[in-house]
Each structure stands twice: as C-alpha cells, then as structure tokens.
Amino acid sequence: MAQTDTDRQPDEPQGPQGLDRHLLRRIITYLMPYKGWVALAFVLVMAAAFLGPLRPRLVQVAIDDYIVAGDLDGLRRMVLILIAVLVGEGVLSFINAYLTQWIGQQAIYDLRTRVYRHIQRQSLRFFDRTPIGRLITRTTSDVESLSDVLSAGVVTILGDLFRIVFIAYFMFSLNWILALVTLAVVPLMLGITMWFKQKVRVQYRETRKQVARLNSFMQEHVTGMTIVQAFNREREEMRRFRAINDDHRAAQIKTIFYFALFWPAVEIISSVALGLVIWIGGLRAMTGTLTLGVLIAFIQYARQFFEPIRNLSDQYNTLQSAMAGAERIFGLLDEDHAIEEAAAPVRIDRLRGAIEFRNVWFTYDDLPADGSEPNWILRDVSFKAEPGTSVAIVGATGAGKTTIINLLLRFYEIQRGQILVDGIDIRQLRLADLRRHIGLVLQDVFLFSGSVEDNITLGDPSITPEQVRAAAASIGADRFIQRLPAAYGQDVRERGASLSHGQRQMLSFVRALVYDPEILVLDEATSSVDTESEHLIQEALEKLMQGRTSLIIAHRLSTIQHADQILVMHRGELRERGTHQQLLALGGLYRKLYELQYKEQERTAA
C-alpha cells in the first residue's frame, strides 16, 4: 500500500535494545514446519525482484531500437513482452504477498495455541500469582507482535535486497558512469532516512507517552466521574485535561514537522538524482556513448531504486518490536509450573469413594528457606469419609474449608501428610483420573458463554442430549430450562447474566450429575434464594448425594442436619467432629457457629 505517512501507527521499539540473534533464531523455528512454502516464497520474491527492474530496460530497447528506428512491428512485439512482464510481476507479487501472510498466520496459529495450552496446564498456584490480564496479553497482543516478522519479515528483506541488486545490475550493464552518478545520491538518501527514522523514533516515544497519558486520564475520569462531580472538581479537572490534551497536541504537531520535512526531502533527493542523470547523461549522449532510451531508463531507475531502501529501514523497526514480544512469550514458555504427574501412575476405572486426609499440613506460600514455620493454612488435619457417606465442613471465614476441597482435587500440592482416595495416595493417580471421579460444584457458579447444554456438558461430545435431559429431569431442573426461550439451546451469556442465582446453582448440579462422579465436592452458596427455589435445590441436592461420597462446605441447615459427619474447622485446625446432635450437645465452637449461621434457617423453614 502506498504511504499514508503521518497516519501510520508507530511500531513499538521497546524492551531489548537491538536484535537478539538467539531470540530471532528461536522465532524462526516456528517457520520450520513450512520451510517448503518459505522456499517457494523466496523463489517468487526473487522472480518479482527481477521482473520489476526489467521493465525500464525493455522500455529502453523499445525506444532505441524501435521508436527511434520507426519499427512499429518491433514496437508491438516489445509492448507485448512488456505487458507480459508487467502482468507477471503483478501476479507474482500478489501470490507472494498472500503466501507470506499464509505462512505467517500458520506459524502464529501454532505459537498461539502452544502458548495457550502451556498456560492452561499450569497449576492453580501459578494462576493465583499471575494476573489473568497478563496471560491474555501473552496469548493475544504479544503473539500478534510477532506476526510481521513471521509473515513478511525475512522474505521481504531478501526481496528488497535482491531488488537493489537487480536494479544496480541493469544500471551498470546499461551505462556504468550514469549508474555511479545515480548511486552517488544513495548515501544522501540513506543519511536522511536514518536521521528521520531516529528523530521519528524519539518523537514516537514521546507521542506514545502523551497518548497513554491522555487515555489513562480519560479512562480514570470516566470511571470516577461520580467523584469528580460530587467533589465539584469539574473546572479543575477540565484544566488538567486541557493541559494533557495540549501536551498531546504539541507532541503530535512535532511529529508532523518531521514528516513534513521527510517526504519533500525524499522527493528533492530523487530530483537531484534526476538532474544529475540529465546533466551527465546529456553530455554522454553528445559524445555518442549514450542513447535517449538509456537516459529515459535511468530516469525510471533513479525513482525505483529508493523504494527498497526505505522498506529495509522499516524492517528494522518491525524486527525490534517483535523482539520485545518474543522475549515475554518465550519467558512464559520456559517456565513450567504444571503439577507433576506420577511416573508410573496407578490406573483406576471405578472408585468406591473412600476419602482420607492423613496429617495434612498445607500453606499457599513457599516454604521459608531458613526452615522456619510458614503461615500454615491447614495444620495436621486428619479425617476419613467412608464410601457413600456425607461429610459437612463448617467454620468461620478463613478457617480453611475451601482449602480442603482444593487439596482433594489436587489443585495444590500438600507439604506434609497424605491424601488418599480408596486408600491410594492421590499423587500416584493421573490428575485426569482423579478429577474425573470427583464432581465439583462451586459456590460462585461459573458459566461459560454458550448454550445451557454446553454449560452442562462442558463440551464433552460423549454426553448425549438425552443424558443431559434425563439428568436435568431427575433433579427437577428441566422445568425452568424448558421455559427458557431456546430451552437447552439458550445462550447463558457471559457469566450467566440471564439466569437467576438459583437457576445457575441448578445448572451446576446437572453438570455434576451428567459426569456421574463417585465423589461429590460441593461449596454451598451462602446467599439466600427464594423459598421455592430453596426447596428445589434442597431436593436436587439430596438426589445428587445419593450413593456418592460427598464433601460439602455447608451453609444449609438441612445439609448439616443430614450429614453423617461434621468437621468443625477453626484457624486451619480440625477442632470438633461428630454429628449435628453430638456437636450441639458438646456446646463448644459448633454450637456458636450454629447459632450464628444456621439457627435462623430453622425459623424460616418452620
């Protein structure tokens, strides 16, 4: 595309200064699967680089051999050849432009999916410590920053180099003196281009800074507009905005100055080349060593020559901006915090569903290097759940209830003790095997955008629509689903905005049910729902728990009343255990918790 000068967006030359060979080589490895295509692109770009400079040469022949001689038949032949060459170059450059993009997009796809898969397999500890925004940037814009290098990059650079070589070849073969004369302005052109690039780079950095200032002011003030208004700050904030806007304008106007200088300068230097060609060429023509056709050919070469030079100087910026992105991406790929799988895992097909925590100690922090005691979240927790029984965990906020669930699913590794399922240490099981037999229902029901059905199957094609409907019917969820405008096909929108809290809870029950796990892990919702759906949820829950071992962070009175065993957690320790009646009789911590959290439900239920 032709230049749109001031409107071109700046590249991002930040991060590592200059070009890191090692990094560059690593980027190039992503092209290896397509090396056949890359080779083809090389051939095409070379052919196009040859055909372009060929045309002025043919025009020269047309003028000197046919027009001057008045040979119109010969001229027709020449014109046909010219058209063939032109169309050839057009077709080649079209194919080449598309092909390089095609290669680049394949490589980008490979890189992107690799980055995504890498992120996804990381342990939850990694996700706790890395902001999601940063991970999104890695998979999207950082990968994107490599696209120029991977698509056009290398091929274009070589193409431009070849173009320069071919033009020089034709010029020297026509007339070496004029060729030298034309080339004489190249240093000037290079000089001014470098000067310009350097100035513009500095200026772009300034402009970017101002754009960022402007945008963050705007973003911040739009978000906090209530505060601006409540504090009568409109006038003062307007003054500040105007000042920032003013700086932004000043930076932009300075950039305009460089562009306004650069493009005319390029034209002037081209004209110097033209003037020199006319002068020296004219003198040579007088002494009979130069024809008019050659002179005209040189007028065209003088123009053609500078385009690849300018392109090459652009490529440097492209490469440099890619380096910063590449460094961040490879930095991510080089660190792996995935949970280690057992070398020789124990295979299981069915579970009975026995759970045992044996003297479990756990902290989310790293263990201190000096051997001092870390901030333990769980201290020496031991309990057993027999197959088919239910265990309710109660305790105040921060007591360690959720941690128990996280550990059973092996989202985190424990520091001391053992967690056993059917008597097997969970570290000896494959993660996928372990989790396939555990159904997790979280308090904050996470719905993915997509249909109700997708949210139940989570994209597992082996679950049939009939199974989904049967599961929904069995816990009474199909009634409200059928009432949705598109029933099972209803889009739940992001975060399930169109479903009520109770309905979302029911969906997550159906989700657990279709996976038919032997162990059910449930974090009950605290926020109350209306009595009708409360009733529904209670019934659904009872069905869900039938024949399964269940581990429940309990917020419902009925859950604790019916639990076979209640574990009372307090500050990471297991303080009391027993049935509801036993614990009430004990009159300790449980009794207080009961009065605080559950007793009220007795009243509303009554």
């Binding site: 595309m1 001031t6 047309a62 001057v68 001229l75 027709r76 010219l82 058209i83 057009g90 194919i95 432009a97 598309y98 993009q101 796809y109 999916t113 995504y116 996804q120 397999r121 939850l124 996700f127 991970l135 998979t139 945008n215 963050s216 705007m218 209530t226 505060i227 409540a230 504090f231 009568n232 700050r233 409109e234 905005f241 806007n245 003013d246 304008r249 932009q252 306004a260 005319p264 034209e267 004209s271 003037g275 006319i278 002068w279 004219g282 003198l283 007088m286 008019l292 005209i296 007028i299 123009r303 997790l440 996470f446 993915f448 955008s449 989570l458 597992d460 992001e494 307090h570 009220e600």
Partner: protein, 599 residues
C-alpha cells in the same frame, strides 16, 4: 455529509490555517508538475545539441559548444532541483498548516467531549460503558481528524495535480493523453473497492480478535471448573477453533491486502506501456518527440498517488461520518442533573438538615422500584445511620443527597428546600461523600486527599489524614505525602484506600458527611478511632453512615433499617433492640461473630 456538517465551525475557526494550507497545496502541485516539462526540454534538446556538435566536428567551435552545452545541461539539471526544492518547500508548508489544523480540531473536539462528559449524570454511565466512551474518545476522534486534515490535503493536491497535468498533457497531445489516462479511473475505483474491502475485513478481524480474547479471559477465569472437570483438552480445542477462525479472518484480509501492490503496479505500468506504444506511433508520425514520452512517463508516475488518494478519501469520509455520528451521540446526551429554572441562585450555603418525603426510585420507568416511600427527617448536626442487606437500596438513598441521582418519586429536601432549587455547585461544595466503592486517582497521596479541597494547605491535608487515621501510614510511606498511588506507585491496602477516601471528604469541612459503607475494610479499632474524631464535630455536621456493623451505627441519633427499598424499622439503637426485629437479630449475630473470632 450529515454528521460531518457539525465540523463546519471548526473550519471557520482555523481558516487562517486552512486557506494558506490549501494555497500551498496548489503551489506545490504546480511546481511539481513543471519538472517533467524541463525533462522533456532537456531530452529533446539533446539530439539538437548532438547534431550541432557533430556539425562542427574537428573545429575549435566544438570545444566552445561543448562548454556551452555543458552549462546548458547543468542548467536543466539545476532547474529540476530548484523546482522540486520549491515544490518541497510548499509541501512542507502545506503539511505544517493542514495537518496541524487537524490536530487543533482534534484538540478542540476532545476538550468539548470531555467537558460534556463531566456534565453527564451517573445514569449516562450506566448506559455507556467506560470502554465504549473510550473508543469514541480515541479511535472515533482519530477517524474524524483524518477526514479533517489529511483527507482534505489529499483531495486538494489530487485535484490540482490532475488538473494541471492533464492540461499540460492535453496541450502536447490530446490523443496520447486520452490513452495514457485510460487506466486512471480504474485505479481510483480499484483503490476505493480494495480500501472498502480492507476496512470491512479488518473490522471482521477485529471482532474475531475480541472473541479470541474473551475466550481466553473466560477460560482462565473459570480455570478451576475446567480443571475439576478435566475439560482442558476440550477447551484447548475450542480455543484452537477460535484461533483458526482468527487465522481465516486474517487471511481474508491478507487476500485483499495482497491486491494493493499489483493494482498500483499493473495499472501504472499499463499507463507507461500505453505511453510507449501509442507514443511510439505518434513519434513515428512526427506528432510528438521522444522527450514527450519521457515527460509522459513522469506524469503518469506523478499522478499515481493523487488518483489513488481519491479512492482512499471516499472511504475516509465514510468512516469519519460514522465516527462523528457516534461522537454526536455523546455530545447530544442531555445533562439531566444540572441547574435549571427552579434553581435559586441566592442560596450560598446549606445548614445540613436532610428531609426525604415519600422518595421512590426506579432506574427504568417500567423497572422494579429500588426505593419506595422513603420518608425521614434529620435535623442539621445529627447523625443518621442506615443498615440493611446488600441490594436493599442504601447506596441509592445516600446518592440522592448530593444529587448524583434525582428521585423518580417524592422530594429530597435540604434545609427544608427542594434539593433541586439549590445550585448544584453550592449543594455539593458542602457535602463530603465517601462512596462504597473507593476510587482514588493516579496521583500522590496528598493530591488525592486535596482532591476534596482545591488549594488546601499542607496542614489541612495532614489534619484530614489524621482524622481519617491515615497519618501514621502515610508517614511510613517511602515518600510520605508525595508517594504515588495506583499503577505507577504503591498499592494501598483496602483499608488504606478507604481512609484516604474518607480524608478526601473530611478536608472539605463539609456540612453533610456521607459514609457509604466506608469503614468495611478497616478493623474495629480503627473504626472506633475515626468515629471518635468525627464525634468532635457533633452538632456542626450532619453525618450519614451506611454500615453493616452495629458498632459503627449504634450511637446514631436515628437508625433506619432498609429492606427491599423500604424502611422497615426506625429508631435509636435502644429502640430497635427493644423492638427485637431485623436490627436486633443483626446485633446478636455480630456479638457471636466476635466471640468466635476471639476463640
């Protein structure tokens, strides 16, 4: 034109730039067009020189002739350079006026936009997300700017270059001109279509990019569920499908993008070939010279960009028009909370009595009520507390005091006057508001506190920090009051943020202080300290406290218990305990919580 007509005043405002700029565009184009004429003169004179030179072959005159021709050719070369210097100078001036003017207009537009945004009520920001407003303030303004400056510049130059070139060419040879120009309309039309396709495909690509981004966002937010149900592989495949779709959209774009170069190349190349072909015939007929062919080749090259720019400009205008329409949507939004006819300008201050008379509120006319029939009266200088569950309408209620919201039913009175009669500036100047969601600006700690009172002295800032129990924290910061808050500085804890937000309200020495659940992130001891400081102003300041904690509200003169938008209980702490309702329940639970925490 439509929406773009709104820009006409700006053209008038900057006519001192536009008029000289357009003149420069004309002059530079004229100089540029003169260059090929000189080239033709030079090329055509060469055979004459050669003939003359050979005529005097072997004589002394040949030496003089050579010196003369040397000078003459040097002169041609020199004229070419001078002409392009002049053309370059005026191009420079053209850019320095027209493009600069577009930046001025951008500056003005953005100021107008921001100034208007400041007048719009919270209801507007419910409708337009921050992202939406930002897009309009950035890319839409940029689209409009391109139309205002560069598009105008391209069109002017294009018209002048084409008109002049065609005129000169026609004088030389109407036939050759007609043939040489054949590809030009095709060039403009192709550029228009390619540009159009590039834009629509870029938009499609952008959409797919957003989908890809939100897919990642969603998957990573729900990573716990994915892992628990071992759906990693399925999700990775879904991501691969989105990536593949993105690749497909990219290649759609690449296909039309790849057409740029060939379109230019083939159409311009064709024009050159036509010049050689038809010109060759004309030279044979003796109608034109070989120099004319050289001249035409340069004209054709010179016309490339102006002709192509016509195609670009059409799409630029289309996009600018759509962008301007989006900007107008904001600019024409009515500031619904503002001083009006009912405003009594004579009111200079307020005392602090707050009265609600049957106040109700709905976000939408048909929507469910957020508040219903809220009636109470608090004398100036006393303390009002509001308790209730999340979503009971507490925040909505207090936002009506500084008129961040106006009631949809009933009346809010301050000092017995309808709040709408008090000048907004006066009303808000006497209210210190601490919102539930703390919002601090990326500024220094001092700057954030002094946000509440312009030109506040250092003593006043320190005093406010002390009253908000933040002074010790600030002094422990690396740079004290000059420490930066937010992304570029230190991250404050939730409690520190809340206290900074309180200090910001206190520094105003307000008649009415509103604490909307503003102590939730501080511990009970700090809460007690801050409330103790507030008590010193008792009698001089009306305090409205929204809280979940009984400890924060128990000393209030009046406690309102809100449930589903209605007042269900009211009275003092003792009254409400005796009543043994919701409030008493809440109280008992909090006692239990304290007991458990102490275990």
């Amino acid at each position: 034109m439509g929406p773009l007509a709104r820009l006409n005043p700006y053209y008038r405002k900057y006519k001192h730039l536009f008029i000289p700029g357009l003149l420069c565009a004309v002059v530079s184009a004229v100089f540029q067009i003169t260059v090929p004429i000189v080239v033709r003169q030079a090329v055509d004179s060469i055979p004459h020189f050669v003939d003359l030179y050979n005529l005097f072959g072997g004589t002394e005159v040949q030496g003089y002739l050579y010196a003369y021709f040397f000078a003459a050719l040097l002169f041609f070369g020199f004229v070419i350079v001078v002409l392009s210097l002049l053309s370059g100078l005026f191009t420079f001036l053209m850019r320095q006026t027209l493009v600069v003017a577009s930046r001025h207009i951008e500056f003005d537009l953005r100021n107008v936009l921001y100034e208007h945004l400041q007048k719009l009520p919270p209801a507007f920001y419910h409708r337009f997300s921050t992202g939406d407003v930002m897009t309009r303030a950035t890319s839409d303004i940029e689209q409009v700017r391109r139309y205002v400056g560069p598009a105008l510049m391209y069109v002017t130059r294009a018209v002048v270059v084409m008109a002049t070139a065609i005129a000169v060419m026609t004088i030389i040879s109407p036939t050759l001109t007609l043939y040489a120009l054949i590809p030009m309309p095709f060039l403009a039309v192709s550029v228009f279509f390619v540009a159009h396709m590039v834009h629509s495909r870029s938009d499609a690509l952008q959409q797919q990019y957003s989908r890809l981004t939100s897919r990642v966002q969603e998957a990573l937010s729900g990573i716990r569920v994915l892992k628990a149900y071992t759906r990693e592989e399925a999700e990775a495949q879904a991501f691969e499908r989105e990536s593949a779709a993105y690749r497909a959209r990219s290649l759609d774009l690449a296909l039309v993008d790849a057409a740029w170069r060939p379109v230019f190349l083939v159409l311009i190349g064709l024009a050159t070939i036509i010049v050689v072909w038809v010109g060759g015939h004309l030279v044979a007929e003796g109608a034109i010279t070989i120099g004319n062919i050289a001249e035409y080749i340069i004209y054709v090259a010179l016309m490339t960009w102006p002709v192509a720019s016509i195609g670009f400009v059409i799409t630029m205008v289309q996009r600018a028009s759509a962008s301007m329409a989006r900007l107008i949507e904001i600019l024409d939004a009515e500031p619904s909370i503002a001083d009006g006819e009912a405003t009594d300008a004579s009111i200079q201050t307020i005392q602090g009595r707050i009265t609600f008379e049957h106040v109700g509120f709905r976000y939408e006319a048909e929507g469910p009520p957020v508040l219903q029939d809220v009636t109470f009266d608090v004398p100036a200088g006393s303390t009002l507390a509001i308790v209730g569950r999340t979503g009971a309408g507490k925040s909505t209620l207090v936002e009506m005091i500084p008129r961040l919201l106006d009631p949809t039913e009933g009346t809010v009175r301050i000092d017995g006057r309808d709040a709408r009669t008090i000048p907004l500036q006066v009303l808000r100047a006497h209210i210190g508001y601490v919102p539930q969601e703390v919002f601090l600006f990326s500024d220094t700690v001092a700057g954030n506190i002094a946000f509440g009172a312009l030109d506040a002295s250092q003593e006043a800032i320190e005093q406010a920090a002390r009253e908000a129990d933040l002074l010790d924290n600030i002094e422990a910061f690396p740079r004290g009051f000059e420490t930066y808050v937010g992304e570029r500085g230190i991250t404050l804890s939730g409690g520190q943020k809340q206290r900074a937000s309180i200090a910001r309200a206190l520094i105003r020495q307000p008649r009415i202080l509103i604490l909307d659940d503003a102590l939730s992130a501080v511990d009970t001891r700090t809460e007690a300290t801050i409330l103790g400081h507030l008590r010193r102003h008792y009698g001089r300041r009306t305090v409205v406290i929204v809280s979940h904690r009984i400890s924060a509200v128990q000393d209030a003169d009046l406690i309102l218990v809100l449930d589903e938008g209605r007042i269900v209980e009211r009275g003092t702490h003792a009254d409400l305990l005796a009543h043994d309702g919701l409030y008493a329940d809440l109280y008992r639970k909090q006692l239990l919580e304290q007991e458990i925490a102490a275990l």
